[in-house]
């Protein structure tokens, strides 16, 4: 995986590395600076609200409560598994949408974004209607193999993957459409089959796009609430992820909810920052 090859291929970078050296000499237009500042404040102030309101004195005891670590571990596991599932299914689908002309492609592209516009709770009910005990596929799975998905950890992964996959597909499709197809054509003229071209040329070419999509997908899966509680329910250690634990803590104890939210934020931001340095920016 040579990530630096995209420099030559002209792939749109999600994170430009060194623009500051050039632009430092020019003045930043005020018309951009003011809305940018307002935008930043809008995104950061709620986080500051959490930090100010956090119960710092009781923080150590709250962190060591057994339920907290269980929910955190479950959240990280399910979000990672959901991302792997999205990569396995979403990258080929994105490739299909970007590289193959077929009738109804525009409709398929619109359908892929359905989970984005669907309220997650509705998504959870839709999943129940398909994979539930009385669902179209779920009923058959239950009778033929005795497999039930609702109220299981697998159910959590499915709910998260359903909601998060569009983020991956849109990012990867965008990278594929932005990538220079001449490399693939060159490979084809040299006799490479389409599968070989895909694995040896296309994938390395759009690797940064896939990484960015996977990060978005993972982050969305980690924060998933509505579809998870509707489809997988809420049971500590099995389906109770951090967002569900936060919501229930809110019922009785605002301070506990804030602590849980902060843990989720710190862990996810740390992981994302680490991955960003490793995958997305070049050394």
């Amino acid at each position: 995986m040579t990530l630096d090859s995209d420099e030559h291929a002209g792939v749109v970078r999600p994170d430009p590395v060194t623009p500051s050296r050039r632009s430092r000499h020019r003045r930043v237009p005020v018309a951009l600076l003011i809305p940018a500042g307002l935008g930043l404040a809008f995104l950061v102030l709620p986080l500051a609200g959490l930090l100010i309101r956090a119960p710092w004195t009781t923080l150590p005891q709250r962190l060591t409560e057994p339920g907290v670590l269980t929910a955190l571990r479950l959240s990280l596991q399910t979000a990672t598994l959901a991302t792997l599932l999205c990569l396995a299914l979403g990258v080929p689908l994105a490739w299909l949408l970007a590289r193959v002309e077929f009738p109804g492609r525009r409709i398929v592209r619109a359908l892929v974004t359905v989970p984005l516009v669907l309220p997650p709770v509705v998504g959870g009910i839709a999943l129940l209607l398909v994979f539930g005990r009385r669902g179209i596929l779920g009923g058959w799975l239950d009778q033929a193999f005795g497999i039930t998905l609702p109220f299981t950890t697998t159910g959590v992964v499915i709910a998260e993957a359903f909601v998060a996959m569009p983020f991956l597909i849109i990012a990867v499709e965008g990278a594929l459409r932005g990538a220079d197809t001449r490399y693939e054509e060159a490979a084809a003229t040299l006799g490479a089959r389409r599968w070989t071209t895909f694995t040896h040329v296309t994938l390395p070419l759009v690797a940064p796009g896939i990484a960015a999509g996977a990060v978005l997908c993972w982050a969305r899966a980690l924060g998933e609430f509505g579809a998870t509680i509707t489809f997988a329910g809420n049971f500590p250690g099995r389906t109770q992820t951090m967002p569900l634990a936060v919501y229930l803590a809110l019922e009785t104890d605002l301070d506990a909810a804030i602590v849980l939210s902060l843990i989720l934020l710190v862990v996810s931001v740390t992981i994302l920052a680490a991955l960003r340095d490793k995958w997305i920016t070049s050394p």
């Binding site: 237009p29 129940l128 539930g132 109220f151 509680i229 809420n234 049971f235 229930l248 809110l250």
Partner: protein, 262 residues
Amino acid sequence: MRIRNALVALTVSGLLVLTGCGDSSDGGATGTPAGGGPSGAVTVFAAASLTESFTTIGKDFETVNPGTKVTFNFAGSAALATQINQGAPADVFASASPTTMKTVTDAGNGTGTPATFVRNQLVIAVPKGNPKGVKALADLTSPGVKVALCAEQVPCGAAATKALAAAGVKLTPVTLEQDVKGALSKVKLGEVDAALVYRTDAKASAADVDGIEFPESAKAINDYPITVLKNAPNQAGAQAFVAYVQSEQGKAVLTAAGFQAP
């Protein structure tokens, strides 16, 4: 050129500030009685289990008091209490548990002592026709029977824990739902075989579920307190609404929904 850019930015941010300020002038409820009776908008925060009966009572109240408009916010009691304590502009709070009401009165947001206006108790909700033949709490522990309970943090979950302890029944539910409607919907969708919900919720969904009474539910009766809030924008309207809920007309609606008199 630079001056023009700055002007555009100033205008844009100025507009943002102006529209932001515009919202705060929206008082809405005045509550000054024009002809002696209550008037204006009355905002009622009520427990999810009161959805059907309070909607009816609200309509009746508007008919009896022309010029009033009752708006409801139905949700889990605890979520409502948090919203009120964080300054939500509500006139009346009706909670499904005294504990939740206490978080509001302790924060100094209530007026006087909250009045208990109804009581509710649990039943076993099963899909229509009772396919698993559930008759008592003990049947819920048999293998192959999937049960949904409310999480212990919400009133219906606390009541379920109490009732199960009273019956000496230990069961492992497949899910602990965030509110009573969540537990009920899992029964309606056929994903679980039984759930412990309020009698009123089972009654409101009589088309899809059967409610099975069980004796231990008498050990876990929930009191519903109601109060006028201290920062109510419409004090007169709030008091009139609370009085109406406790009047004969209000009681009739609540009893028909399956609530018990306090």
